[in-house]
Amino acid sequence: MLIETRDLWKTYVMGTETVHALRGVSIQVERGEYLAIMGPSGSGKSTLMNLIGCLDTASRGEYILNDRAVSGMNDDELAFVRNKEIGFVFQTFNLLPRATALHNVELPLIYNGTGAKERLEGAKAALSAVDLADRMNHKPNELSGGQRQRVAIARALVNNPSIILADEPTGNLDTATSEEIMDVFEKLHERGNTVIVVTHEQDIADCTQRIIYLRDGAVEKEVVK
């Protein structure tokens, strides 16, 4: 089992009110799975993604990632897990605007202390994997939306993480480009990567093998194809 959450709660206190963003979510993900987490806005899917992505810790419940209990880790331990286990792909790409594609892809390797030569080779290989080898010295503003998202995917891949976690990866892209990006995820899955896509679009979710529907902070249903 790659991911196992047991009765995950996330509670925010806003002034005098307590808001339960997650109310006891228990899910399991096997290595090599390709799945989607779906739900309308306010369903808690972003919160669940933040927890799975180790950007945040749960108020209650347990999260075991790759045999490691993540709940209760401090900031720096979480940073270490994010670097090693998670590859993020965001809706807004989140590339550093002043850095070249190559440098953007190198970033995760910088933070785990990879040497300069290996770093360069690794980043080049990751960019080749998303067919951007010829664009690696371009800055994000010199690339199209689809190309930017592929740079982001290359950055997510470069460290060989356990999970590729994509948050609305096609939200800022047109239909044709969206298909192109979903093809990339499909290929990554075929190569054995675990891919989790968080989305509110049914046709994007339909590209995956399994869909977990969230509503009001809890799992509503699961559909396996």
């Binding site: 933040n50 992505g53 950007l55 945040d56 900031d75 720096d76 940073a79 270490f80 994010r82 670097n83 090693k84 993020f88 965001f90 989140n94 590339l95 550093l96 002043r98 970033l107 995760p108 910088i110 933070y111 785990n112 202390g113 040497g115 300069a116 950055r155 460290n159």
Partner: protein
């Protein structure tokens, strides 16, 4: 290590990206370091030229003076009543002091006008000295000769003059053997001293000395003298001073319970006096000029706070990709350090240039020392760290989720 290079690269890139902002940010630091370096260099230069001047006395020579250092009116009234030091005191020390190699004396000096026909030079420092004074006080004679015992014995009207006197009154002829008029009396020039330039804007070359006996005859009947003693060697200074003290106390009938009614000066004690007078002033001067350094630091802190806020999203991205708190802390700290050190280096350059300009265009000396440059770099680094740590910590503590959502 590559994270350090990475951070320096980021810092330089953001400097280049915001050129005007970078210049304004650096300006504060540049002005601060420049002021401090210029001030410190001038202070250095003054200390150096004073210590050179005092050092001319030589490390084995001490002076016995009736008054010593007078710092208050009350003290002046007290020391005024002391007995004069006389030639007999000098002779007694010469005779009885075992560790004293040479004993000489000089009168107190007077500022006078020297004439040759219709040419004249004013403000000349005139004093009478014993024949061996020139050797004791290490005044170098460039041309001609020094006094002899016989000049003094016969109260000859001869003088040794400073190079300014010689040049002004005898621009075209050899001054040796020529006559000039000091006050109302004619003197024959037998020697000319070596030029020494000026110390703190005070000309050191406009002087004339005569034998002490001649000087007493014409200019100051009676009056105290200063006794110059050269000890046999540096290590015997204390012994020589003790001997001279015992001799003088006996001659002047000072009771054992009373303090000396005369004072000693050595080059060391004069340096101490100079330092005690000037140190406080230097500290204030450096302190005041350091205020601009603090201002420079505040400017850097301000720009770093802006930079951290502007790059909130970047911090979020970096954290999502695995940057730990200390990685972010270092990134921004190194950026602040890069700013302050670049500013510091430019400031050192300008400050040294200003110090040079001051030295060449005003009577103030200046001396740019390696240690002040090293200190300049150190101070700007410390300021970079001090004022950079808060913005860097602010960035390091950011929550990755909030930072990623920041618009």
């Amino acid at each position: 290590m590559h994270q350090v290079f990475e951070s320096i690269k980021i810092a330089l890139a953001s400097l280049i990206a915001n050129k005007l902002r970078a210049i304004l940010t650096l300006l504060g630091m540049v002005i601060g370091v420049m002021t401090v370096i210029a001030v410190v260099s001038v202070i250095n230069g003054m200390n150096k030229s004073v210590s050179e001047a005092i050092g001319q006395l030589g490390s084995t020579t001490f002076i016995i003076d009736k008054y010593g250092l007078v710092t208050s009116e009350e003290q002046w009234f007290k020391v005024r009543k002391r007995k004069d030091l006389t030639k007999r005191d000098m002779a007694a020390i010469d005779e009885n002091c075992e560790y004293c190699q040479h004993v000489g004396a000089s009168s107190f000096d007077r500022s006078m006008t020297i004439k040759r026909g219709s040419d004249k030079i004013g403000g000349t420092i005139v004093k009478g000295v014993t024949y061996n004074y020139i050797e004791i006080a290490t005044t170098d004679i460039e041309r001609g000769r020094s006094f002899t015992e016989s000049d003094e014995l016969h109260r000859r009207s001869v003088c040794v003059v400073g190079p300014d006197v010689a040049e002004n009154l005898f621009p075209y002829t050899d001054p040796i053997g020529q006559k000039l008029k000091i006050g109302k009396y004619y003197f024959t020039i037998i020697g000319v001293g070596k030029p020494q330039g000026s110390i703190l804007g005070v000309n050191q070359d406009n002087w004339a000395i005569t034998p002490l006996s001649t000087y007493s005859k014409y200019f100051s009947r009676g009056g105290s003298i200063q006794i110059f003693v050269k000890a046999v060697e540096y290590t015997k200074m204390d012994e020589a001073m003790d001997e001279a003290r015992a001799i003088l106390r006996a001659r002047r009938h000072v009771k054992y319970s009373e303090p000396d009614d005369f004072e000693f000066f050595t080059s060391e004690s004069m340096m101490e006096i100079y330092n005690s007078f000037t140190q406080g002033a230097w500290l204030v001067l450096i302190g005041v000029s350091s205020i601009s350094l603090v201002v420079g630091g505040i400017v850097i802190m301000n720009i770093m706070l802006v930079s951290v806020t502007e790059r909130t999203r970047e911090v979020g991205i970096r954290k999502a990709l695995g940057a730990r708190r200390k990685d972010i802390l270092w990134q921004f700290l190194i950026e602040a350090l890069t700013l302050s050190i670049i500013g510091g280096l430019i400031g050192i350059g300008f400050g040294s240039a200003i110090a040079k300009i001051i030295a060449t265009s005003t009577p103030l000396p200046s001396s740019v020392e390696t240690w002040s440059i090293v200190t300049g770099v150190l101070i700007s680094s410390v300021i970079g760290i001090f004022f950079g740590i808060y913005p860097a910590m602010k960035a390091a503590r950011m929550d990755p989720i909030d930072a990623l959502r920041y618009e």
